[in-house]
């Protein structure tokens, strides 16, 4: 039997194996991790006719360049990604949300994400990866998950197994929605901030700084004045939590966040807007909009219906 694998010609900036994350370990300091943009992760596996939680390769801004060795395999890319396939003598422009074949020695060059951060590569097969605490998701801080908890490195090999014959060549019509407002439910320390600060928080725009990664987004904008206490006794966090640091800047917790923190929480991004939030690249602006719990729950149901609808279109 032919061995099928990718050779990593260029690893990309922050390329990791991810699935839907680790459950039930926050109490020992291990965050959820998992694919940042859940919808694009789920769709990637659906297009590949894979199991829902099959490991994928997640890349950020600049993706990897991979050479396929073996018989043949189909893959698809989700997100808003600019990529090419290099076959013998020709270069083919890649199309997202569609299965594409790779044959022996073909190269896949995931050049960059467009006005977004994360993209996903799925194959109609399984990447041969290690699991830790029931998940392959790489957490580079705790050095756990697939690939010894590390990002991809140049010249390494990614083994591919269980190649399936089931695939469709139809392109899924899906456009990643443009970022409007990020909707937020008020947090338990909302009243730590001055009246003016609370108004500014929902009125002004904040810039996404370069200090942004899988752990969190640091924002810059009008200073949010704390009138009570800039520190609280450390307590648990969830992804999407917006803390205000002592210098008055917001930081938003993302999937690899520290499990506890000691800054007041002004709000939490609603679950339905999390995928949009993580895709906002450094240099762009965010505007927060206040929303109540009941509306957030309704909006989530619509988000989930839309995801299921997209999945059903891949069948």
């Amino acid at each position: 039997m032919t061995e099928n694998y990718f050779e990593v010609l260029r690893p990309g900036i922050n390329t990791t194996f991810q699935d839907n994350g680790r459950k039930n370990f926050y109490h020992i300091g291990i965050p959820f991790s998992g694919a940042m943009d859940n919808r694009n992760f789920v769709i990637a596996n659906a297009i590949s006719s894979n199991k829902k939680n099959n490991p994928v390769i997640e890349f950020a801004l600049q993706g990897p360049k991979l050479r396929f060795k073996g018989d043949k395999v189909y893959f698809n890319v989700t997100g808003d990604v600019n990529f090419q396939i290099l076959r013998k003598n020709k270069i083919e422009e890649g199309v997202c949300y569609q299965n594409i074949v790779l044959e022996n020695n073909d190269c896949l060059d995931l050049i960059s994400t467009n006005r977004s951060v994360y993209g996903y590569l799925s194959v109609n097969a399984s990447f041969k990866v290690d699991f830790y605490l029931d998940s392959c998701s790489v957490n580079t801080k705790a050095e756990i998950g697939a690939n010894n908890g590390k990002i991809l490195e140049k010249n390494q090999i990614i083994k591919i197994e269980n190649i399936t014959k089931k695939y469709s060549l139809n392109k899924l019509d899906y456009i990643n929605s443009k970022i409007e407002n990020i909707r937020v439910i008020k947090g338990p320390h909302f009243d730590y901030f001055s009246k003016t600060a609370k108004e500014l928080f929902f009125k002004e725009k904040f810039s996404v700084t370069k200090l942004t990664d899988r752990m969190g987004i640091r924002l810059d904008g009008p200073k949010i004045e704390n009138i009570k206490n800039t520190n609280i006794k450390s307590e648990g966090l969830v992804k999407g939590t917006i803390q205000i640091t002592a210098d008055g800047n917001p930081i938003v917790m993302l999937s690899d966040h520290g499990t506890i923190g000691g800054y007041p929480k002004i709000g939490v991004v609603i679950s339905a807007d999390y995928d949009k939030l993580v895709q906002i690249p450094p240099g762009s602006k965010i505007k927060f909009k206040e929303i109540n719990l009941k509306d957030a729950e309704t909006i989530y149901k619509l988000y989930e219906m839309e995801t299921q609808n997209l999945i059903s279109k891949t069948k």
Partner: protein
């Protein structure tokens, strides 16, 4: 007991046990944590105990805030689950190479280092919570005379396995990490074992820790 339950976003419960930090309130938090964990409420995906709060996050596809809140309030609460904390002994080497902030503490606390170590090693510490980085235990309470504020500028890299003090607490840096606690020594023990696939944490909330001092040669031997 829980004073108030509110929502933290649309997929988590924020259980408030008050504002004080003490062992009594914290053991209450841990009792709740263990009871909720055992009761397997559908949809619960993470429970994070801390000094005086308990955050329960849930899968919004399976359940919602109102449902989980009711289930937590109606929990068939068993007290005995809580009394299972272990006693764990941790060796610490206080060689100058590892005790990065001992000189600062001597000045700040107006105590000689021998006295600082004597006070530090003569007490047992209670684990309030673990987290921030994987496996990091937050332990207390220190003797009053050892209360020191954080470094004015946090270190970019605190070496792995360093023992740090701040206010009434001490901790162990389970990984190299940024941090502002006053470092007084280093343990050769790995507190978080990322090769252990079932229980990677040596120290869990509710456990009791006693530190004992070892020499540099003992420290190096344990590393072999």
């Amino acid at each position: 007991m829980i004073k108030n339950i509110s929502n933290l976003g649309d997929a988590a419960l924020y259980c408030d046990f008050g504002n004080d930090v003490n062992k009594e309130i914290n053991s209450n938090v841990i009792q709740f944590f263990k009871n909720i964990k055992k009761s397997n409420i559908p949809g619960v995906i993470n429970i994070t105990p801390s000094y005086n709060k308990l955050i329960i996050s849930f899968d919004i596809n399976i359940t919602n805030f109102d449902k989980i809140k009711k289930e937590v309030e109606q929990l068939n609460f068993k007290n005995e689950i809580a009394n299972a904390g272990k006693l764990i002994k941790i060796p610490v080497c206080c060689d100058n190479d590892f005790a990065l902030d001992i000189k600062r503490l001597e000045k700040l606390l107006k105590l000689e280092k021998e006295k600082i170590y004597k006070k530090f090693f003569s007490k047992k510490y209670y684990c309030y919570m673990t987290g921030f980085i994987a496996g990091m235990p937050f332990l207390g309470d220190l003797d009053d005379s050892l209360y020191a504020r954080r470094l004015d500028t946090p270190r970019v890299k605190v070496p792995k396995n360093s023992i740090g003090l701040t206010e009434q607490f001490c901790n162990i840096y389970t990984f190299e990490s940024p941090g502002g606690w006053n470092i007084i020594g280093k343990t050769p023990l790995d507190i978080f074992n990322n090769k252990n696939n079932s229980s990677p944490n040596l120290i869990n909330p509710g456990d009791t820790i006693s530190f004992f001092q070892i020499s540099k040669s003992e420290f190096e031997k344990k590393y072999d």
